[in-house]
Amino acid sequence: MTTRKLLAAFAGVALLSAAIALPTAQADDEKPKQKVQQDEKVKNPEAEKFNKDKEKAKDKDKEKAKDKSQDDEKSKNKPAEGAAEVGKPAPAFTLTDTDGTTVNLADVVKGGTKIVVLEWFNPGCPFILKHHKDNKTFNDLYAKYHEKGVEFFAINSGAKGMQGYGKEANRQAKTDFALPYPILLDESGDVGHAYGAKTTPHVFIIAKDGTVAYKGAIDDDNSMKVGKTNYAAKALDELLAGTSVTTPETKPYGCGVKYAK
C-alpha cells in the first residue's frame, strides 16, 4: 500500500499573517491557492506603499501624542508601550548580562558604526530551542554578521517564577547553546514593554543611526521547522549594502514573553 502523506496544518484553516509561510513544504504542495494569496500579500507593492503612507500618517499622530504626554513625566525606565517603531529611535536601555556586565545600548550605537540585533529570549521556550539547540539559526547569523560590525544581544524579560527566568538558568543556556553573545536580564520587563516585545524569539534590528530598521520574526516558518527566508539576515544584508529594508516588519512568532503578572 502506498501511503500518501498529507499535511493539514491547523494553520490552513486561517491564513497566517502575510509574513509567515505555511509550516512545511508539504503544505505548500497541498495548498497552492493559499500560498499564492500569501505571496500577493507580501509582494503587493501597492499595498506596501499604502501601508508605508499609513505608517507615516500614524507617526505624525504619534509625535503629536508624544508632545502631549511629555508633560506627565513618567518613569524613565518605562517608555510608552510598544515604542519601538520602525524608522524611529530604538528605546534606550541599560541591562546587566548573566556575568554581571552592564550593557548600555547608547554606548553600543554611539559611534554610528554598529548595527545591533536584539533577540527576545527564554531558554526553555520550544521556539528558542528550535533556533538555538535543534538548529543554530542565531549562532550562524552571528558568525556571518558579527565581523561585519553587527552586535548581538539576547534579552530575557521573563519574570521570577516564569519559564527560563534567572541568571543561573540563562548562564547555563549560554553554555548549552554555545551562545557567542550576551544574554541581558530584564526581570522587570521594562525593556520588553518599551520595545513591545511579544514573543521569544522576537527580533529587533537597530541601524547605525540608532533607529529601528526591522522588527518581527526571525524567519518565515512558525512551526518547528526552520524557514526558507531569514528576515533578519535579509534586513542585515540590506542595511550593510546601504539600501532600505524591504521587509521592515513581520508578525513575530514564538512563546509569549513571560512578563510579570
Binding site: 484553516v13 497566517l16 520550544p126
Partner: protein, 290 residues
C-alpha cells in the same frame, strides 16, 4: 487546597486516559515553582473514527479528542500574538483525502504585555472529514494515522507530539462505530454555528465591524487571519455588553472580516457561550471612492 499537589494528580489522570505511563515529578529544589511541573503530556490526544468500515466514494469523520491539563492552554488557529496552533500530519492510503480541521470556538486570553491570544483551556475535539475514493477496493483494510504536534502553555510553554493510528476497512456499505460516532456528534455540536442565528446582527460600516446579539451579557471576537488589519484587538476584541465594535485598519483591496463571534448568555456558572462563524466583505478604499 494545596495546588502544588493537586495539579500533578490531574495531569496524571490526563496521561492515564491516553495510555501513557504516569510521569515522574521532575521537581528540582533549586528551581522556581514554574519548573516543577511533572514531566509528560499536558495535553493528551486520542484519535476517534465515526466508522470502522467505509464504502467506496463515501466520507467519514476523524476526531482528535484532546484533554488539556488544568491551568494549561493550547492555541486556536486564529490571529494570535503568541504561541502556535497544533499541526496535524495525516498519513492516508493513496487517493484518500482529508478536509480542513474544524475547531470549536476559543476563549480570548490576554497576558501581561498586552498579548492577545485565542486559546482552548478545556477538553476539546477537532474534526476532519476523510473522503474515500470511488475506486477503493472492497475487502481491504487501511491504516490511517495522524502525527500531531502542539504547543501547550501556562507560565511555561511545552511542545508535545503524538502519532495515533486507526484501521479503516473498505466495505460495500459503511459500518458506523457507535461509541465514537456519539462522541463525534457531540463534538460537532460544539463547533461554531455556520448560520447567523436570529437575534445576531452583523455589520461592516466604514471601517468598523459590529456585532449585536440580543440578550448577550458579553461578546468576544476571535479573528482568523485575513487581509483585514484590526486597529486594536486588545481594546475592541471583547465587550461587556450585547454589542461589539471592532475598528478595522485600511486596506486597498476588498477583503473579508473572518472569524468567530462569541456571545455569553447568562452569568457565572450558568453562563452559556454561543459561537458563530462569521465572514463579511469589507469594501476596499478603491471601491469606496468610486
Amino acid at each position: 487546597m494545596n495546588h502544588a499537589l493537586f495539579i500533578p494528580v490531574l495531569v496524571g489522570v490526563a496521561v492515564a486516559a491516553c495510555g501513557a505511563p504516569p510521569a515522574p515529578n521532575a521537581a528540582t529544589p533549586a528551581e522556581p515553582p514554574a519548573q516543577s511541573e511533572p514531566d509528560g503530556e499536558r495535553m493528551s490526544q486520542k484519535l476517534l473514527s465515526s466508522v470502522t468500515a467505509a464504502a467506496p466514494g463515501s466520507s467519514f469523520t476523524l476526531a482528535l479528542s484532546c484533554r488539556v491539563a488544568k491551568g494549561w492552554h493550547t492555541y486556536w488557529p486564529g490571529l494570535n500574538d503568541t504561541g502556535a496552533p497544533a499541526s496535524f500530519e495525516f498519513s492516508l492510503p493513496a487517493g484518500w483525502t482529508v478536509g480542513e480541521p474544524q475547531w470549536p470556538a476559543p476563549v480570548r486570553h490576554v497576558s501581561p504585555g498586552d498579548l492577545v491570544d485565542y486559546v482552548i483551556e478545556d477538553d476539546f475535539t477537532v474534526l476532519v472529514e476523510v473522503q474515500v475514493p470511488k475506486d477503493a477496493v472492497v475487502g481491504t483494510a487501511h491504516e490511517v494515522s495522524v502525527a500531531a504536534g502542539w504547543l501547550v502553555c501556562k507560565n511555561v510553554c511545552v511542545m508535545e507530539s503524538r502519532t495515533s493510528t486507526t484501521t479503516i476497512r473498505v466495505e460495500k456499505s459503511t459500518v458506523a462505530r457507535a461509541e465514537h460516532a456519539e462522541l463525534i456528534d457531540a463534538a460537532r455540536k460544539k463547533l461554531p454555528e455556520t448560520m447567523v442565528p436570529a437575534g445576531l446582527e452583523l455589520k461592516v460600516q466604514g471601517r468598523e465591524f459590529s456585532a449585536t446579539w440580543q440578550g448577550a451579557s458579553s461578546m468576544e471576537f476571535c479573528p482568523l487571519d485575513s487581509a483585514v488589519p484590526y486597529e486594536n484587538l486588545l481594546k475592541d476584541g471583547a465587550s461587556d455588553s450585547a454589542t461589539l465594535r471592532v475598528k478595522l485598519g485600511d486596506f486597498p483591496n476588498s477583503a473579508r472580516v473572518e472569524g468567530v463571534v462569541v456571545g455569553v448568555f447568562g452569568a457565572d456558572r450558568k453562563a452559556v457561550r454561543r459561537a458563530v462563524r462569521v465572514s463579511l466583505p469589507v469594501p476596499g478604499d478603491e471601491a469606496e471612492k468610486r
